[in-house]
Amino acid sequence: MAAPVRSMNNPSGITCNTTSFQKKSRSKLVSIPGTRPSVQNGQLLVSTGVTSLDYVIGGGLAVGTLLLIEEDRYDSYSRMLLKYFLAEGVVCGHKLFVASAQDHPDDILQELPAPILDDVTSPQPVQEQAQSSDPDSADDMKIAWRYQNLPKVQTALASSSRFGHYYDVSKTMSPDMRQASKCHTFYLAEQPPVESTATSSMGEAYTDLLKTIQQVIHQQGFDGSAPQSKVRNVLRLGLHSLGSTLWGDDLCCRENPIQSHGLTTFLYALRALLRSSLSVAMVTVPSHLIQSRVLMGRITRLSDTAIALESFRGSEKETNPLYKDYHGLLHVRQVPHLNCLVCEVPDTKDLAFKLKRKQFTIEVGHTTAMATPSPPLPSPALPSPPSASLTNR
């Protein structure tokens, strides 16, 4: 309070900057489009493309970190998350890197969801929600006046300020928009066969992929080695279904895989690469096929944020009345500890996701559903205690 007064009395103080108080100017990094500093620890964040997922993992993905997604059984929702992640990169003008062994990366890029860019239409979900709550208030209960004006409990997760974009899954992004962003692809089947020089503990495919990523990061100057000429930018890496058999990895086939260190070594090296550059990665892993729980635990530890999708498709939970509003559960396996000992713990651990007509959203799950009067369920149908989903397996 005192300092500005003094500098106002002394006009020269403004120029020579004698005061120790300075207006907190935004750092240069913030000028990258599509990023913002974290409220908690000042880390530079990018959006995953799903606003509610950003909220769950503490505001967004910190640049230089790795998000691991454990695929659902049929890889439908995890693939959608990957597409959201890439689409967000296209909209923000980030550079993309897509690697896959199953489908051609260009096929994945063609299926990116169309953004809802018009700001008039974006608050629509909120209006819909307000309308949907109206019928509830129609047969209003007599309630003491103190409680009449309390805010409604919102199940959809969203942070107060807008970050990231909304996407319409039913439409695909227009080709002009897609081609405007620079995209590197890596398709394993099209890679020229390279004679492996040394017997590295990584498989050939992973070595190849790591080298390609390294090259892209180095040549485009994401690691700061070559100064980026114009504007600083973020590289988004989307790696699809690592650890599946198509990557030449036998994690999924054997209890004691021969190349048990292949994927873990790759993730270790990848994370080191990410940490020293302006890049962020999303990796999906078919964890339901990976036999060794120990290895899966190591893979989780080698990533920063880890979430698991559990689709109800094909499980007995599909017909459970408790879950009728949702398409699956989302387990947060790990949240990152960045530059500090504590991490931001999500408010609630039981989360469920659903795919509405156009949008993928994550909501607070079944305990709120249980709070509403519903028939008591037999004990085997009850969900596993939510704490079990967050603790280490």
Binding site: D249, D250, C252, L289, Q291, S311, G314, E316, P375, P378
Partner: protein, 296 residues
């Protein structure tokens, strides 16, 4: 949905018929081949489990000329050089030369009878990679494989089935002569369709679906028993009669802010007490602020 799958699939699909010793699925595979031949498609069969004479029996004679059998039954590993196809020839290159060697080289159907034989002799990682190569190669329109799930580790079966676009599991049914088929189909958009059907196969290899098994009927009685009225056997009365309800609604609740109450509070009537106060210079306006008296 089983019939939809038998009607033929879009290009690039990979269908697995999953069976076990208690319920063999070869006959269903054969009826698929039969249906494909009827649609005038070229069918190439990699045969490891039956002799080359066995498969065409029961098929139409003029259909059979579009059926090309590459037999590995007599000598699957090529020890005595008697087979036209061995396990080690299972690469995308040799498959595409096999298919293009036929005069009508339009996109063809590749039937693998059975995948289990390949899994026994090749590394599962290698099989998955080659299947994917063949699928994307273009020479083959659809890959059909029979997999004996009880012969392999669950992990291997899971990995191979993970690649497939459609998995049909055949399971025995304890009552009756029908067989249960669980169909799981993944569409390109990522949607997953599932259905369970009871079917039987006629003499002329046509499939008849008898009924669909839905899970909702199974769970329905369970929820019914749960939803039994908890207020049924109580020692006190929980229900309200019409008269009682009227009486209840007449009662003014103490903390409900009704319109009359509000107006009564806002427009205080005549004769009510009032507090008149004129602020003083030394008044403490803000109790919270300790530095009020300082000039800052």
């Amino acid at each position: 949905m089983l019939l939809d799958v038998l009607q033929g699939a879009e290009a690039g699909s990979f269908i697995i018929f999953r069976d076990s010793a208690s319920c063999p699925g070869r006959r269903l595979l054969k009826s698929y081949v039969h249906a494909a031949l009827k649609r005038e498609e070229e069918v190439h069969v990699l045969e490891f489990e039956a002799s080359e004479e066995e498969l065409p029996t029961g098929l139409d004679v003029h259909c059979a000329q579009r059926l090309h059998i590459h037999g590995g039954f007599a000598d699957p590993l090529g020890w005595i050089k008697r087979s036209s196809f061995t396990v080690h020839q299972f690469t995308s290159r040799s498959i595409s030369t096999l298919i293009s060697s036929q005069p009508q080289s339009k996109s063809a159907l590749l039937v693998i009878d059975s995948l289990s034989w390949l899994v026994r002799h090749l590394d599962p990682v290698v099989i998955c990679k080659r299947l994917q190569e063949i699928r994307r190669g273009g020479a083959v329109k659809t890959i059909i494989g029979l997999l004996h799930a009880d012969l392999h580790q669950i992990s291997v079966v899971g990995s191979v089935c993970h690649l497939a676009s459609t998995v049909i599991s055949v399971e025995p049914r304890t009552n009756g002569q029908w067989v249960l088929a669980k169909t799981t189909k993944r569409t390109k958009s990522g949607k997953v369709l599932q259905e369970e059907e009871l079917f039987s196969i006629q003499e002329n290899l046509t499939v008849t679906v008898h009924s669909k098994v839905s899970h909702t009927t199974q769970t329905q009685p369970e929820t019914d028993s749960v939803e039994a009225d908890p207020a049924a056997n109580l020692t006190f009365n929980l229900h309200l009669s019409e008269m009682e309800r009227e009486a209840k609604e007449k009662v003014a609740l103490p903390f409900v802010f009704s319109q009359e109450k509000k107006s009564a509070l806002l427009n205080a009537g005549q004769g009510a007490g009032r507090i008149l106060y004129e602020p003083d210079a030394n008044d403490d306006f803000d109790q919270e602020d300790p530095d009020e008296d300082l000039d800052v």
